[in-house]
Amino acid sequence: MTTYLVKRLIMLIPLMIGITLITFAVIHLAPGEPVEMQMAMNPKVGKEARDRLKKFYGLDQPLHTQYFNWVGKLVRLDLGRSFSSDGRPVRDKIKERLPVTISLNVIALLLEFGLAIPIGILAATHRDSWLDKGITVFVFLGFAVPTFWLALLLMYFLGVKFNWLPISGLHTLGSDSYGTVRYLWDLAKHLIMPVMVASFGSLAGLSRYMRSSMLNVIGQDYITTARAKGLSERVVIYKHALRNALLPLITLAGFSIPGLIGGSVIFETIYAIPGMGQLFYQGVMSRDYPVVMGILVIGAFLTLIGNLIADISYALADPRIRQGA
């Protein structure tokens, strides 16, 4: 296990270097310089001021120097200052928004798995029944529904038409004065729609995967053996089959992380949630390149960490890897 862990950690190094290289390339190889972008809004800025600003951000140096400066700062978690008028450090901006996005996505991930596993088991154990067909229809719709459209529909029906749920932000104005219970209830009501939207997209894929994984396991010899020795179907499915069917889902959880983080741009923008996705969108719209670059790197590192956790959990759950390495 230790060897496996060490190997896995060493593999991270080239990936991390690659991530910084690609982020840097994306920002610097795109036509138009960041400072020009910032200046384009303000035609009054002269050449001299432009050069001064370039020097201030170190943009007058050769690319490789800029890269090493940037990575050097990145290692110290210094992501530079935002181009926006407040000029705050990007690190602080991300730090105050990261918890919102991560907790939202963790809730969404839990909900996804909580629903997809039973749905997948049901579809697999009732294969080819009307139930299975119904689930298949749901899965295909789930793949095809654009998340932002779903968000709009929910907003219209639950928020505008029936007025059951608040349609934006995380808190009602003045909720600071509420008691704890009422405060949390208020927060929960604000979270329902975003979490639904965030989890819906991957729910379909996950259920389908769970179904095929389960079918795969049920078809194996040891399940036939379990049935042959007279175990009840319940025990066969939930005790013998389920464990093995769940294994590939661990990896899938790791893979679904970039999708979740990327998707947060959409639902955070629509529901006005002050998370990383919204910050990114604002950064993109105002061409605030230190923010964009910072979030791009952080988003990729989060994926990397997510995959690492998934791999380690897999190794812990699967004795063939745990003891093999």
């Binding site: 654009p146 959409i266 990114f280 791009l296």
Partner: protein, 285 residues
């Protein structure tokens, strides 16, 4: 699926596909979309950009099947023209992704060793980035244009194809006919493109069809956020942007373009799954 594919392969493939009614339905919708896109000026009841100040935000009626938008433009015509954009985006973006992915996969699988390691690490790195973040970041620094969107969606979506083609190439490389080709002195290039490529393409067909669906979804999300296709050019995503702004008064602005996306993406997915099943010798109908 060993060996060079004879016409028999395609006959069986077509027979399998024909029996799958859902896939056929998907295919029909896709064909219909092609026709509609080509004939949009003939089919559309009015000019998609014709402004009518007297009929702002009017609900669906005989005259305007899908109602009108905040400038009095006919939503039905705009949705029809929107089909052009999504079709173009779907095919060009996937074309780019498939070309890059296929070449990377072929080279990686055929040469193995250092080249393979480097290319596959590149795939791993690219997969670490939330694709939507990467696309947004690139588009930030470019003038908004549909060509950039197609390029960027393609450039960030080739990794899956590369892995697929590499896996196929690895197994095809060991076949006798490849050894034979090498013995008679074929160049690497000829072996890769003439002998391996045609046999490695079938799984790519599936992921291309699913990829078109994904690209259409991405484009509509980008346009919805105001970073994609710029108004007044109609796209399903940017019609939905005004749908969001007028959601309290005009449900039709949100409903119809969304349904158009849903049906189109569903059709490509059904077609893709159908092709997968038809190619898979294990699936019996």
């Amino acid at each position: 699926m060993a060996g060079y594919k004879s016409s028999y392969f395609y006959v069986v493939f077509w027979q399998n596909l024909k029996r799958n009614r859902l896939a056929l339905a998907g295919g029909c919708v896709v064909a219909l979309l092609f026709v509609v896109s080509l004939l949009a000026p003939l089919v559309a009841p009015s000019d998609p950009n014709a402004i009518n100040a007297w009929q702002v935000l009017s609900p669906p009626s005989w005259q305007h099947w899908f109602g009108t938008d905040e400038l009095g433009r006919d939503v039905f015509s705009r949705v029809l023209y929107g089909a052009r954009i999504s079709l173009k985006v779907g095919f060009v973006a996937v074309g780019i992704a498939v070309s890059i992915g296929t070449v990377v996969g072929l080279v990686s699988g055929y040469y193995s060793g250092v080249i393979d390691t480097v290319l596959m690490r590149l795939v791993d790195i690219m997969l670490c980035f939330p694709a939507f973040f990467l696309i947004l970041a690139v588009i930030t620094f470019l003038e908004p244009s549909i060509w950039y969107i197609m390029m960027v969606i393609g450039l960030t979506g080739w990794m899956g194809v590369a892995r697929l083609v590499r896996a196929e190439t690895l197994s095809i490389r060991e076949m006798d006919y490849i050894t034979a080709a090498r013995c008679i002195g074929c160049s690497d290039r000829r072996i890769i493109f003439r002998h391996i490529l045609p046999n490695a393409m079938s799984p790519v067909l599936v992921s291309a069809s699913l990829g078109v669906a994904g690209a259409i979804l991405t484009e509509s999300a980008l346009s919805f956020l105001g970073i994609g296709v710029q108004p007044p050019t109609p796209s399903w995503g940017n019609i939905l942007t005004s749908g969001k702004d007028y959601i309290e008064f005009a449900w039709w602005l949100s409903l119809f373009p969304g349904l158009a996306i849903l049906v189109t993406v569903l059709a490509y997915n059904l077609l893709g799954e159908g092709i997968r099943d038809a190619l898979d010798p294990r699936v019996k109908h």
